[in-house]
Symmetry: C2
Subunit: 212 residues, 2 copies
DNA sequence: AGATTAACATACTCACGGGTATGTTACTGC
DNA sequence: GCAGTAACATACCCGTGAGTATGTTAATCT
């Protein structure tokens, strides 16, 4: 296009810029995958150039780490009230927790773990572990402790394996939703997301209540 | 090491070679990830050089496709007898099917979907869809039809959502086992694999039997 | 209003690895 | 036993993209 060598926009916003970069990075990573995503793409999506990124982040990996921490905090922040609301029985709080975490079409949800399941896992164990700890493990830990509460309250049977159950609930939903979102043109795999989430919760709770 | 320019071993085995290459490729892909795996690595693992690979496969993607087809066939081949054994009740056949597919420490199991979950998913949708169809979807389809059998036989409640349940069972187990195998030094995530598989099956069956 | 630094842009380097072009040697048929 | 081809090995090409070095301009302080 024979650019008229118009020097690029020069707006200086050192306080908004980092978060803008994180959001742009999430977009691009989610669309292209971490490795395939070029830093030039991220920069373009954020309306800047690569130099700006390297002004705030030392390396591509550090940028990804920033994305993880930022959006993980956002996601769990929107669920704190449910955890503290002791007026609801544990089963209801589990339902709310899972539903809020998984049936959420905005960016704080799926794109992130999608990226992390992909190219990150093996090539950057440090980042992957950090994410595992602050994400999935944290979530199924919360669920497991709610189940324990439910046991003490007599709502669930006492011999249930709360730990493994919570793990399966979380990982099952994650992978299903990843696939749904990832292959929307694959007819056979596309089911209404709400149906999946509801069915998962029902299945989980039913197994906790059943008489063994 | 200043190689003495010893020309590499020249053994010609055009019939074993392709499978050897597939096995070497699976190893390297599983260890390094698809993108990070160099074709030189695969060649070295197979005891040949890159030229040999390109003699049998047109491209890196084609090699991966070969890996998928080969090992998928092996895995499902070892389960056919269970499916055809009509003497066992569906619940028992589900248990056997899942256990055989997931509690299997050899290479036909985890390494493959681990690779495909990672870098393949987004960057090569053709390969990913092929795998989804011939792997997970096939498996949960089998389970769902067993559940239908169980409903007709009166073993399971008729209003259960067999489709979604089977999906969650498969994807939950897959992701759990991936993580286990992927972060064996992460204490908090490591549980006995048999316990996970058994608990998953029990949870699944319990929800099918419970009185809603 | 000039100096200084922060917040960017621009231009370049350089390793890496998929693919290719070409050489070399083991078989196979005749 | 000798072409001819298949089954490899070797050497090279070349795009790609992370990281860097350096230039440039806006804000800030005095």
């Amino acid at each position: 296009m024979t650019r008229p060598a118009q020097p690029l926009r020069r707006e200086r916003r050192p306080d908004q810029r980092p978060q803008e970069l994180l959001e742009a990075a999430l977009d691009v990573f989610a669309r292209k995958g971490y490795r395939a995503a070029r830093l030039d793409d991220v920069a373009e999506a954020a309306g800047v150039t690569k130099g700006a990124i390297y002004h705030y982040f030392d390396t591509k990996e550090e940028l990804l780490l920033g994305v993880v921490e930022h959006f993980q905090d956002v996601a769990f922040g929107r669920v704190e009230d449910v955890l503290r609301d002791k007026t609801l029985p544990p089963s209801a709080r589990i339902g709310l927790l899972v539903r809020r975490m998984f049936s959420n079409p905005d960016r704080t949800r799926g794109e992130l773990f999608l990226v992390l399941l992909r190219d990150v896992a093996h090539e950057m164990p440090r980042v992957h572990h950090r994410w595992l700890r602050t994400g999935p493990m944290r979530l199924w830990g919360l669920i497991a402790s709610l189940v324990e509460e439910g046991k003490e309250a007599g709502e669930f049977r006492a011999d249930a394996d709360s730990e493994v159950g919570a793990r399966l609930l979380v990982s099952g939903l994650m992978l299903q939703l990843i696939w749904q979102q990832h292959a929307p043109h694959l007819r056979e795999i596309t089911i209404d997301e709400e149906r999946v989430v509801n069915a998962a919760v029902e299945l989980f709770l039913a197994s906790l209540r059943s008489v063994g």
